[in-house]
């Protein structure tokens, strides 16, 4: 401030407007940088928060083979991201005493589940009074393709004599328990909901033998 006043006092010289300009530019650039920092912070912060709480739960799941169990999604000890996801979607998650949600988006060998492929889901489920298997595609359902069947319940399926079962998920009609793909192309997701199950409280101890295996049989090219 003081040098600027001194520079201005001699009067008339060409140096004075240049100094003033430089100072004004320095001040403007400081304000600009501060604005840039605030805009960057607000923009990145809001965008990353939106991204992290959109869609599925970012973490908190327990991986069991191809399946992921979500034992804490509905409990008060759920992490803040899970709570934010539930709040944004209006979801009413299953409580620990009520049941357990298992989801799968890949098969046993880690490949993404695809609507053009046929998968066999076989084996046993963890003990539960009832369970349901649901298939869903990402995004809004195709209006031109009304769902023939979205899922199976434990009561409905056909079983082997020893109680094991096998469900085929795919675009082609199959004998037995056939669950049609919900859409023509794109990734699909499977969800098993176990109702009134003792494993909800100890999902970490689930092993791969206790959940159904998901094997890819082939793909329609």
């Amino acid at each position: 401030m003081a040098p600027a006043a001194e520079a201005a006092r001699p009067g008339g010289g060409a140096a004075a407007p240049a100094g003033l300009l430089r100072r004004a530019w320095a001040k403007a650039s400081t304000v600009g940088l501060a604005l840039y920092a605030v805009a960057l912070g607000a923009g990145l912060g809001l965008a990353s928060a939106d991204w992290a709480t959109r869609g599925g739960y970012p973490f908190g799941g327990v991986a069991v083979g191809p399946w992921t169990a979500w034992p804490r999604a509905g409990s008060p000890s759920a992490d803040p991201y899970t709570r934010a996801v539930n709040a944004r979607r209006g979801e009413v998650p299953l409580a620990v005493g009520e049941g357990l949600l298992l989801t799968a988006s890949t098969d046993d060998s880690g490949r993404t589940l695809d609507a053009t492929c046929t998968y066999r889901l076989s084996g046993v489920t963890p003990p539960a009074r009832a369970w349901t298997l649901t298939v869903a595609g990402r995004g809004t359902p195709d209006p031109g393709r009304p769902p023939m069947r979205e899922g199976f319940t434990s009561t409905e399926i056909l079983r082997e004599a020893d109680g094991r079962f096998s469900i085929t998920v795919g675009p082609e009609v199959e004998p037995g328990n056939w669950l049609p793909s919900p859409r023509a192309t794109g990734p699909i997701r499977l969800a098993i909901r176990l109702y009134d199950t003792p494993v909800a409280a100890s999902a970490g101890s689930l092993d791969r033998e206790a959940v159904p295996a998901l094997t890819r049989l082939g793909c329609r090219s």
Partner: protein, 203 residues
Amino acid sequence: MRVAYATACGLALAGLVHVATVLAIPALSEADAVSRARSSESLDHPQQVYTLATGDNPAPAEAWLPIPDPAVAVGVCAFDLEDGPMRVSARTGPLMLTLAAHGRRGAFYAVTDQAAVRGALDLVILTRAQYDEALANDDENEPSRDVRIVAPEGRGFVVVRVVAGLPSQRPAANAAIQAVSCTIDSPGDEPAGGAKEPAKPNG
């Protein structure tokens, strides 16, 4: 140099904004289950949020559950404990039924129909003060059979889920949701009077 400094400040600020936003979403959301369930607060039976489609009927418009289970009928009762303790009475039937009490932070209690005594499941959700009052009013010779749950917060909702194992059981599952009653125990009532009152609409 100054640009790098400003960028670093911006990134630090972004971290703070991110954390604050994620923590604030449940409190600010208007689409969350607690806010949406509040429209059912004056009903004496659960508001059906997911009715099982019967035949070719599409799901009703109030089906706001994002990925509903196509074999489970869901109803909610909202409560505000300032009005008094909330009593949820369910009669067990052939279909599996679960009740869960949710607050804004998550489910704080859940019970299934296997806990029913003589085919009836009576759940009373109250605050700590209302719980103490109910204990003090209890008749020692005739202990109450209610399941009393102290809610961590004043507002929330109870979810009723009924599983229909077969498509033919879907109308029964929808009816089982409607048959559950959610009533407010008037605070001045004797416990016995409070217990009889909500049984009436069911009978």
